[in-house]
């Protein structure tokens, strides 16, 4: 086990390094965008003096390197900084008491995104794996082909299209679920779940194909192994051969694909959020890019990057643990 612990620590350190590099890339990339917050907030009629004054207030007149290390120092202390948009608003009203930090702004949105991702994962992961197992079990049958066609069509369609189809069938023609997902703080869990269901189903359709096909392929890949033949020759039922003998050895690739899709659920669901008016982090991110609210953009990017790195790390560790050679060394 000491071995596994060492690997985990190594990966964690590497993850931190990746995160640091990502932060530099984000910082530089965001600053390469044409225009800045001062120009976008003041509009076309802005005087150079006004622009310069806002820049000075926000520290935008400092060199890039200085601003980066200021920001990095803040992050290291757990301070993601203050949102430009909020700061500006506060200075117009003459009080500084209403200044919202980036953390305040992101926290509820991020919680919503995590909620949506969790609901989707709870539905999609078991669904995709069971579908994959069934497809492997009845490979090349009508069921297998139908599953493949359906999941592939759903992954190939634009997300908004899937979303509108679901709205049409589940909200308009058969009003089972609400088409708007405008959840808010202090909502009861049941209501929240109900409102989240339609976007979660849409996302399920988006992520299922990948996971299901990997499950199917990873299992089928093993079916020619001698130990699968042995299992068959022991007179075991086909389902037992697949679930007990093939699946445990196929876990590593499946886990990796699941992690990739979970990361997508956290970072890439802007379109679905917009369609269902779901107050997630994706919308906040896009809005912040539009007005060049750099602290928020950076914080979002950092969260996205961290989510990717953490999920991949988890997948790596679970893949390692799924190998009995690692769990039980000689």
């Amino acid at each position: 086990m000491g071995n596994v612990l060492k690997i985990i620590l190594q990966r964690l350190a590497l993850g931190m390094l990746t995160l640091l590099i990502v932060s530099v890339v984000i910082f530089v990339a965001v600053n390469l965008l044409p225009g800045d917050f001062a120009e976008s907030i003041l509009g076309q009629g802005a005087t150079p003096e006004a622009v310069a004054s806002i820049r000075r207030d926000l520290g935008l007149d400092q060199p890039l390197v200085v601003r980066y290390f200021d920001w990095l120092g803040g992050v290291a202390r757990g301070d993601l900084g203050s949102s430009f948009a909020q700061a500006n608003f506060a200075s117009f009203t003459g009080t500084n008491s209403g200044t919202k930090t980036v953390a305040d702004q992101i926290a509820p949105r991020f919680a919503n995104t995590m909620f949506l991702a969790t609901v989707t994962a709870v539905i999609a992961v078991p669904f995709a794996i069971i579908l994959g197992i069934m497809a492997a079990l009845y490979r090349n049958s009508v069921f297998d082909r139908a599953t493949n066609i359906l999941t592939l069509s759903s992954i190939s369609s634009p997300e908004f299209f899937l979303a509108y189809i679901l709205i049409l069938f589940l909200a308009v023609l058969n009003p089972i679920l609400p088409s708007l997902s405008n959840i808010y703080d202090g909502m009861a869990f049941g209501d929240r779940l109900e409102k989240t269901l339609l976007p979660a189903l849409t996302l399920t359709l988006v992520v299922t194909a990948h996971m299901m096909r990997m499950t199917r392929a990873a299992i089928i890949n093993l079916l020619a192994s001698p130990y699968i033949e042995m299992a068959r020759l022991k007179g075991l039922s086909p389902i037992r051969v697949i679930v007990r003998h093939a699946l445990p050895n196929a876990l590593a690739p499946i886990i990796n694909v699941i992690a990739l899709n979970l990361a997508y659920l956290i970072t890439g669901v802007v379109v679905v959020e917009v369609v269902f008016v779901y107050p997630g982090i994706g919308q906040l991110f896009v809005d912040s890019v539009k007005i060049r609210d750099i602290p928020v953009v950076q914080a979002c990017c950092l969260i996205f990057a961290a989510a990717y790195i953490l999920l991949n790390l988890t997948a790596d560790i679970m893949s390692i643990l799924s190998n009995p050679r690692m769990r039980h060394p000689k």
């Binding site: 020619a224 192994s225 001698p226 130990y227 033949e229 042995m230 299992a231 068959r232 020759l233 022991k234 007179g235 075991l236 039922s237 037992r240 007990r244 003998h245 445990p248 050895n249 009995p324 050679r325 039980h328 000689k330």
Partner: protein, 548 residues
């Protein structure tokens, strides 16, 4: 005892490759009585395994039974439903595969896999089956029978896994077990233990068995009757003793003849001659684990040294040191009296050229996407700088040397060659560098006896023509007898004994050499019984483990 347990009549099997069905077995009859052991022998490609599986009513993907009947205890296996067959498999007909290491599921403990059959078939409860497993492990003389079942396959050695698989096959007390080359992958010393265990347990439970192998001497120990197969046809069937004493068919006789190939003795080495390769007090480590201790031997021009020992004895590591793939921790290696740099990256092109290798698995040692011509042309161009027509001519010449027609084979891919042909290409590739010294790492152990003999004869001829020196790594003493001039016996990374072949094969021996020599199965049905008696092992099962 009147009705046969297994009756196969006119069984024909076909295999598919490239969408074309071609015959594998052309109509074979097979009858097996209760408690009888039938040996099925033939080269690879003779269809033994396919026939063995067909006896279970099972075919692999891409194989089909297209004629005949398979009747097990009155049940027509070919007409039976999948559920009926599942109910028989594992419970009344069991299978022991060639590679236990690959056939045990790496994800589950041995015990979980052992009890699966009895529990799923409703023969025993899990607890009953577990205590029965421990009993079987004990009968099969596995070390630590109480605990070994709770290990994962990778934590158990190959020979032990093979016995655990036999135990698993016995778990439901089947009427019939198909043994598919169960000892082929094992060392001779391990093979004996497994053979003895299998024979005892089959006798004890009066289980009928089909024992598939390509090794006549092995089958002679195990079977009551032997059936010889050749390319899907039966050559002959006879009682074991009758067949060994008087084989009637030419092919059967040729199987015996393989073991008789032996090179004439060479004149003694001239005193004071500089050896081609001199290994001097070499130590080697993998990481911090020492694997070689003070290994020394010399090899002169035109001669062959055979390095023998069990797997893990350091034979291949010694070869890696000589090739420069694993720089030794101590000691040195001399080529023609010149010290070779320990790391191959530091060796000159000419030094690299002089030392070539031929590998055990020709399959994996040849690039599957390169044609035969390109595989051989590469070293020709790399070492000798030949290009264009000259290069082509040299490749053709090399193909002729390995007795393969250049026009026919130049453009073929490795996948279009047989195992023996692939190994010949491996030889040609080594020759292409025009080396002095070739390391042959188990080059015949993946081949059938007849094909292997062809390879050995070719290597011998090339040695005479080109004055090559060979280091022959092998665990097969028949090969050593056939080709070696000198023998180095290794155990646990040390040289136990070395000397000229004649001396080595004559007593007195080092005890380990003695063990190796006596472990080679002989063409005598009583060999195993006598040997076990001699070594003091009670072969009627359940006896104390004799740590050999």
């Amino acid at each position: 005892m009147t009705e046969p347990l297994l009756k196969m009549r006119g069984v024909k099997l076909e295999g598919r490759s490239d969408e074309v069905w071609s015959p594998i077995i052309n109509g074979i009859d097979l009858t097996l009585m209760r408690g009888e052991v039938l040996g099925l022998i033939g080269e690879s490609g003779a269809g033994k395994s396919t026939l063995g599986l067909a006896a279970m009513g099972y075919t692999r993907d891409g194989v089909r039974i297209n004629a005949g009947t398979v009747e097990f205890d009155g049940i027509d296996l070919l007409a039976a439903s999948a559920a009926t067959k599942r109910n028989l498999l594992g419970k009344r007909i069991a299978y022991v595969a060639q590679s236990a290491a690959a056939s045990f599921n790496p994800a589950h403990r041995l015990m979980d896999q052992h009890v699966e059959g009895p529990v799923q078939h409703g023969v025993m409860s899990r607890t009953e089956s577990e205590s029965d497993a421990i009993e079987l492990y004990r009968k099969l003389r596995l070390p630590d029978p109480e605990q070994i079942g709770f290990r994962y396959p990778h934590q158990v050695s190959g020979g032990q896994l093979q016995r655990a698989m036999t135990a698993m096959a016995m778990s439901c007390r089947p009427d019939l077990i198909i043994f598919d080359e169960p000892t082929t992958a094992l060392d001779v010393t391990t093979q004996i233990e497994v053979l003895a265990s299998i024979r005892d347990i089959v006798e004890q439970f009066n289980t009928a068995a089909i024992y598939i192998t390509h090794d006549l001497a092995v089958v002679a120990q195990m079977a009551d009757r032997i059936k010889v197969l050749l390319k899907g046809d039966e050559v002959e069937t006879a009682d074991t003793r009758t067949m060994l004493a008087a084989p009637t068919q030419e092919y059967t006789k040729s199987l015996w003849a393989v073991r008789s190939f032996q090179r004439p003795r060479k004149p003694a080495v001239i005193v004071g001659a500089v050896p081609v390769i001199s290994v001097q007090s070499v130590d080697a480590r993998y990481g911090t684990t020492p694997v070689l201790h003070d290994v020394s031997f010399d090899l002169h021009e035109g001669r062959t040294v055979a390095v023998v020992g069990e797997s893990g004895s350091g034979k291949s590591t010694a070869a890696r040191c000589i090739a420069g793939l694993l720089p030794p921790a101590a000691g040195q290696i001399l080529l023609d009296g010149q010290v070779l740099p320990p790391d191959y990256r530091k060796r000159s092109k000419d030094q690299l050229r002089q030392v070539q290798m031929i590998y055990q698995m020709a399959d994996t040692a040849l690039n599957p996407r390169m044609s035969v011509g390109r595989i051989i042309a590469r070293p020709v161009q790399f070492y000798l700088g030949l290009t264009g027509a000259v290069k082509r001519k040299r490749v053709d010449q090399l193909l002729e040397q390995i007795e393969m027609e250049p026009t026919e084979y130049y453009n073929r891919l490795p996948s279009e060659l047989s195992g023996g042909q692939k190994q010949r290409i491996g030889i040609a590739r080594a020759l292409a560098a025009e080396p002095k010294f070739i390391i042959c790492d188990e080059v015949t152990s993946a081949l059938d006896q007849l094909v292997a003999e062809g390879i050995l004869r070719l290597l011998a001829k090339l040695q005479d023509d080109l004055h090559l020196s060979y280091m022959f790594i092998t665990h097969d003493l028949a090969t050593v007898r056939a080709i070696a001039d000198e023998v180095v016996v290794m155990k646990d990374g040390r040289v136990v004994e070395r000397g000229p072949k004649d001396v080595m094969f004559k007593p007195p021996h080092d005890p380990y050499t003695e063990l190796l020599l006596s472990s080679v199965p002989e063409m005598d049905p009583d060999w195993l019984t006598n040997l076990l008696a001699e070594r003091g092992v009670d072969d009627i099962g359940g006896a104390a483990v004799d740590k050999m």
